[in-house]
């Protein structure tokens, strides 16, 4: 990994929820029977934490509804893969289809939820998650712009700040946009935050995290909920 750390900037990366705990927290909020598309990376972890008794149908945009977990070693098929191009399985009741049908499901509003990573989320719901705009970068977009344009709910799961301590929740995205006003909710390592008509609204704090820490780590105003149970741990 080419991870860079800053010695000077105080980091929020190691407090609050771990990646798995963020995924677990998000998984509690997915309704039974939902059709769900999980992005590559942390979003994929969500599937491991869906509460018992709920049945979700996973969509992968390369043409499968009813995606199951990774195959046993040696039992995979190079032609049964997910959007991250890793081998997966097909659950009972699965269906294969071509790419135009797959994106008709996406764009046509047939999927209930998409979980994505983010470079930046603006307080009006704008999302940047496909490019840093660097001159030497190879442009690559995949299906993110279609997903955010069409899926009913868009949840972002992300570290609250970058590895150098910059807020990822901002007034306005500086990276190239993926979509305008598309994000409904953010699950970070520090908090659960709704994107409302009035901006970012705190829903829940991660254990051991206080409101001031979240405010300082957020690059736009943070509305506080009326209820007094913020800070309670589960």
């Amino acid at each position: 990994m080419t991870r860079q750390t800053s010695q000077q900037t105080p980091s929020t990366e190691t407090i609050g929820w771990t990646r798995e705990q963020m995924a677990q927290r998000l998984a509690q909020d997915i309704a039974d029977g939902s059709y769900v598309n999980l992005g590559i990376g942390i979003p994929e972890l969500v599937a491991k934490f869906v509460p018992a008794g709920r049945e979700l149908i996973y969509h992968t945009e390369n043409g499968l509804l009813g995606m199951g977990p990774s195959p046993e070693p040696g039992a995979g098929d190079p032609e049964l893969i997910n959007a991250g191009k890793r081998q997966v399985t097909a659950n009972p009741g699965a269906a294969f289809f071509h790419h135009a049908d797959s994106f008709a499901m996406i764009r046509g509003g047939h999927l209930d939820l998409c979980v994505l990573g983010a470079l930046q989320v603006a307080h009006n719901g704008d999302l940047a998650n496909w490019s840093t705009g660097a001159d030497d970068a190879i442009p690559a977009v995949g299906g993110a712009m279609d997903l955010v344009a069409g899926v009913k709910s868009i949840y972002v799961i992300t570290q609250h700040c970058t590895k150098t301590g910059e807020p990822k929740l901002v007034e306005a995205c500086t990276y190239p946009l993926t979509g305008l006003g598309v994000v409904n909710r953010v699950y970070s390592n520090l908090a659960v935050i709704d994107v409302t008509a009035n901006g970012f609204q705190l829903v829940e704090l991660a254990p051991g995290v206080d409101v001031d820490t979240v405010k300082q780590a957020t690059g736009a105003p943070l509305l506080l909920p009326a209820s007094a149970n913020i800070g309670s741990t589960k």
Binding site: P78, K85, D126, P139, V141, M145, D146
Partner: protein, 236 residues
């Protein structure tokens, strides 16, 4: 008497011409028609425009075609691959043009091209750099951008089984772009593991009807890109 079967990948791509637009099936390695692509490298056509979701990996298949400098332009949603330097090197040295298209827009452009629809409006990419220069229009209070349908001179795709009329079934997520590319190409060439006689396939299970397929070639044990790359194979 209809018989679309040809004897070899070489025969299947014999008339590809310089400057042709070719749709190449596959999402990652799933559905990538490696044997047809290698036959195209041997055939020698150059100055090609390739329409494909990705740009291959290692130095086999689509990446090998690019590496042979036969491709002037790609229309693609995700040209970056962890284990290939072919596209990045060509792109940085200005030897290849890229038309970056969101994946769903790419699929719909291909579907539209094959369905006789010259253009359509989509909500994807509105307000992003990929909407620049495109016509925007509001419908029912929401903004959309216009995208053009895509057609091709050839499609190179892969299936599991076909009959000699060109009716096809696919294998799992290898189906991806193949059915719509078959519709959008003047000459759709498909490699399948098994060719059967008409009547051998249940018409209810046919995924791509034969009207969209021009040539069928049997490749009984097709290579998988990841296995070739892992084995250190390069082509030619």
């Amino acid at each position: 008497m209809i018989n679309k079967q040809v004897t070899s990948p070489a025969e299947a791509v014999r008339d590809v011409f310089d400057g042709a637009t070719i749709m190449v099936g596959g999402f990652g390695e799933a559905g990538s028609p490696i044997e047809l692509i290698h036959a195209l490298i041997d055939q020698g056509a150059k100055g090609l425009t390739i329409v494909s979701n990705n740009c291959g990996s290692g130095e086999v298949g689509l990446a090998a075609l690019l590496n042979a400098e036969r491709v002037a332009k790609v229309i693609c949603s995700f040209p970056r691959t962890a284990n290939s330097t072919v596209f990045p090197d060509l792109y940085h040295s200005g030897k290849i043009k890229l038309e970056l298209t969101p994946q769903g827009t790419l699929a719909e452009r291909i579907r539209a091209g094959g369905a006789g629809i010259p253009a359509f409006y989509t909500p994807a990419a509105v307000g992003t750099p990929l909407a620049e220069g495109k016509e925007a229009r509001a419908f029912d209070g929401k903004t959309y951008i216009m995208e053009r349908g895509l057609k091709a001179d050839f499609a190179l795709i892969k299936g599991r089984m076909a009959d000699t009329h060109g009716n096809v079934v696919f294998n799992k997520t290898a189906r991806n772009f193949a059915p719509i590319m078959a519709m959008a190409a003047s000459v759709a060439v498909i490699q399948v593991e098994r060719v059967v006689e008409p009547g051998s396939m249940d018409p209810e299970t046919v995924v791509t009807p034969g009207i969209f397929i021009s040539r069928v070639v049997e490749v009984p044990e097709p290579a998988h890109e990841s296995q070739l790359v892992a084995a250190g194979v390069t082509y030619p």
